[in-house]
Subunit: 577 residues, 2 copies
Amino acid sequence: MLASRSHLVTYREDAADAEIPSHRLLLRGGYIVKVGAGLYVYSPIMWRVLRKIERIVREELDRAGALEIQAPILQPVEYWQESGRLAVYKASGTMLFTKDRNGGEFGLAPTAEEIVTAFVKATVQSYRQVPLTLYQIHTKMRDEIRPRFGLLRVKEFIMKDAYSFDIDKAGMEKSYQAMKEAYFRIFSRIGLEALGVEADPGDIGGSGSMEFMIAANTGEDTILIEEGTGYAANVEKAVSRLEPPVSANDALKPLEIRDTPNIRTCEQLRDFFDGFAVERMVKTILYKLTYAEEEKYCAVLMRGNKEVNEVKLKNHFGCLAVRMLAGEEIQALTGAEMGFAGPIGLNPKFHLLADESVRGMRNVICGVNQNHKHALHANIDRDFTPKEYVDVRMAVVGDAGPIEGKPMIVKKGIEVGHIFQLGTKYSEPMQAKFLSKDGKQAVFHMGCYGVGVSRLAAAAVEQTATDQGFVWPAAIAPFHVAITCLAGKDQAAVAATDQAYRDLQGRGFDVLLDDRDLTVGVRLKDLELMGIPALVLIGKKWKESGEAEIKIRATGKTLFAKLEQLPDVLKQEGCFA
Amino acid sequence: MLASRSHLVTYREDAADAEIPSHRLLLRGGYIVKVGAGLYVYSPIMWRVLRKIERIVREELDRAGALEIQAPILQPVEYWQESGRLAVYKASGTMLFTKDRNGGEFGLAPTAEEIVTAFVKATVQSYRQVPLTLYQIHTKMRDEIRPRFGLLRVKEFIMKDAYSFDIDKAGMEKSYQAMKEAYFRIFSRIGLEALGVEADPGDIGGSGSMEFMIAANTGEDTILIEEGTGYAANVEKAVSRLEPPVSANDALKPLEIRDTPNIRTCEQLRDFFDGFAVERMVKTILYKLTYAEEEKYCAVLMRGNKEVNEVKLKNHFGCLAVRMLAGEEIQALTGAEMGFAGPIGLNPKFHLLADESVRGMRNVICGVNQNHKHALHANIDRDFTPKEYVDVRMAVVGDAGPIEGKPMIVKKGIEVGHIFQLGTKYSEPMQAKFLSKDGKQAVFHMGCYGVGVSRLAAAAVEQTATDQGFVWPAAIAPFHVAITCLAGKDQAAVAATDQAYRDLQGRGFDVLLDDRDLTVGVRLKDLELMGIPALVLIGKKWKESGEAEIKIRATGKTLFAKLEQLPDVLKQEGCFA
């Protein structure tokens, strides 16, 4: 392709609102142009990148036997009512809606479980027609609270979403496994190192789920890893091994109610009670649980040195939202100020849930719902009784891992894929049934599988970004190599450049010939800003020895080669895919 | 591809709401599944067809030097305010809107002139960067009053939209010409006969425009053609030559006001006045014109035997909408009942416009805005004076054509493309400027160009539909050929079928191997419903003579050939592209 006809536009300055490398670098390289908060036009070179990603995704999905379809972005809300998700998405506010002139309401696809389930319900009658995995590569929309980070948090994006339909759980697990393998192949072909991590299924729901993360310092997600054991999990979902309670074997002491004037936090209590260890205290955190039809209250008991993971809490209750109570609400519901809530004398409106970390603790300090008082040497099942023990604890770096108990390390990651075992979560309420082998009606076991296509482009930039800019992995670079003549007035050099350009194209390379009437410095700076993997320069050196200068940007290497050797040298250096 | 893994689902019954062949046949062939009014899921085989159309469109646009981008579907309304089109689209009600959680309002792209102009404004500074033609193949939305006709009138569809940017009118015309040629290549490669017709630019605006029509009896558009002259125009835009007024040379007679009790129409007047010719009368049609900020009234004078073309009227005034007045409004504004309005004694609120057909008429009958009275022998410029003469007349079949005056014929067509010379209609209000060669700021001259990708698929079905079903043009057929074994228990026949399948694939054919465990009759009926261009059957005949039976569906031919001759025979019969 000729640079003069490619609409290349680069910028020497960073945009003020660009906080992370991919946002900054994609703007500077002329890949994206902002036309609204979280809304970008993909420029011609960006579109080349996205089409290459799409192609890899499509090939791997096809290879796994999935069939491509396309479902409307406008989704009648009736389907979302049927599945029960309308309330969830209205509560989170992440879905955009529109109404037509006849009053029909439509959600703008954030995902397509409902529509694809409806399609399968309409077209599949018999077990003979499954297993069936359908996918689309299509535009999705999301009402982001605060669009930012360039292509990472946007209102509109390109996603590959797939949906599998099987007759039973075993079939679903097989389809899930096939997609998992396809996903690792996709990321590896693109040239990205992806980590499969346990994840919270969120509003999609279902039993098992795995996220695919590209490690990057600027990643929005936190991953806890127990090295050498294969365990990696999103912090939203991560579990850790507990240290046994230090007081587990102590004799029970009598309960004392002590005055604790203005002493509200565990740290204040520790100081007040002469260094009574925080991990021997039980703190009480009060929550409001919002359901579609009602609201409930819950008190979470937690070992003093641990924190609540609200995602786990929300999942445990299957409610639409959880929110910690504020001062006034606490006063109204417990009769005491914030800092004095506890399991003793608690308003029975609260469902009393204990984190697993509380099990077996003895002689603890806790609140008693009276201002300026706390209990000392309170004991479970004598002074208060939790309704249940559940893991609702936040795992943190350094916690013992669940597999071998090794201290976990932390990485930041960008989520680029997410796969889910849905079971009958959608097929059951939507009554998506088939006639089974033994002649009975049964509902499908489903899976769903997402890859962020536009997100992958940004993740690729994040993974390679340095102070010197970035370099596209060869498989998705808009051009494998750019070639330019450094001696524009030397007709022989220009002709040699043209020849090398055509030869490389003939060998299957995507080549950009920078034929623009600009100074060499400006051209080279542009090509650098664009993240092209390799530059081939033909000028003085070529005049002297017939050799082109080759800059491999990923490694920083400079090589020299005769023109006819260029294809081999570039392939050897990994600038081809 | 194996039929058993392609999710083929056909129907033996027609859907109740399917009024035209493409709707009926695409449903029966399992190509589309309805999930809402005007909303369809494209099934895997439909997606194959659409991808082939996309590919042809993309290749021809690339060949013409256009660059592919992608712009958001969510378009901030601010851009539409800037261009002045927001009011137009709100008035017509054809655009869908959504609001985000921060109150931002967005139109759901029916077209993308504004966003692409904003992109060019942001990225082009100098005349050196143009000519530039950008395109995208993307989902568009439209709030149809009454979605129907399958893929022809839908809420959501796939369109290729392109936009050209030039420094002047001559440049624009050159870009327009290049697109026009690309369009004819696209339709011809797809295998469709397209007619380029003069068209009304509608809400897109601009000076010149051409529609591309696929002739089909079920087409929604009416095209008038003066054969042998190259003249073809959408009826919305078509012009015709006028017969001179029969009274052109008569002496002026004195005006008479006659009682005409309950005589309201031209036909009634003719009978009342002893056969006074309708074409010698001037009828008066009253309209309300709606603008963004105000409403106006207009009276159209028309030769008695002609009708008003409201599209021409609306374009003449450049208003948002025109609407014929109803009885009560007429009474209130003219003082007389419907049927008595006329140019004499008319409320001056009405802008008095005469169609060109009225020019030169003498001694006419017309209304005088008094109940049960009409004027006889009224004369222009003596008894009333039109403000202007304009062609706002509907041309009809049989009218004299504008080129040589030959009677025009009529065809029905499906619009599949539309190209426009926009001039500065968008660049001027949006201030999209560049630095010209002589160092001054100037606004771009633009063109815009649309092809309905999903519409083309439906048009292809319409063009080939008969009572026996339809046949895809080879270039966009999901499979060029289907092959199946008629002797499923004969291992040698099955092996030969497999071999022929692989050989055809090796020769570049898209082949469907119908390996489904169904009766031969069911398989053949399915393949017919799917519109596959050719069927290859291997059975008894092959056993006897080693020949396969080949059915060419477009021509109805049945041929026999040795397996190794299959590729050549199929190519010869046009079943390959």
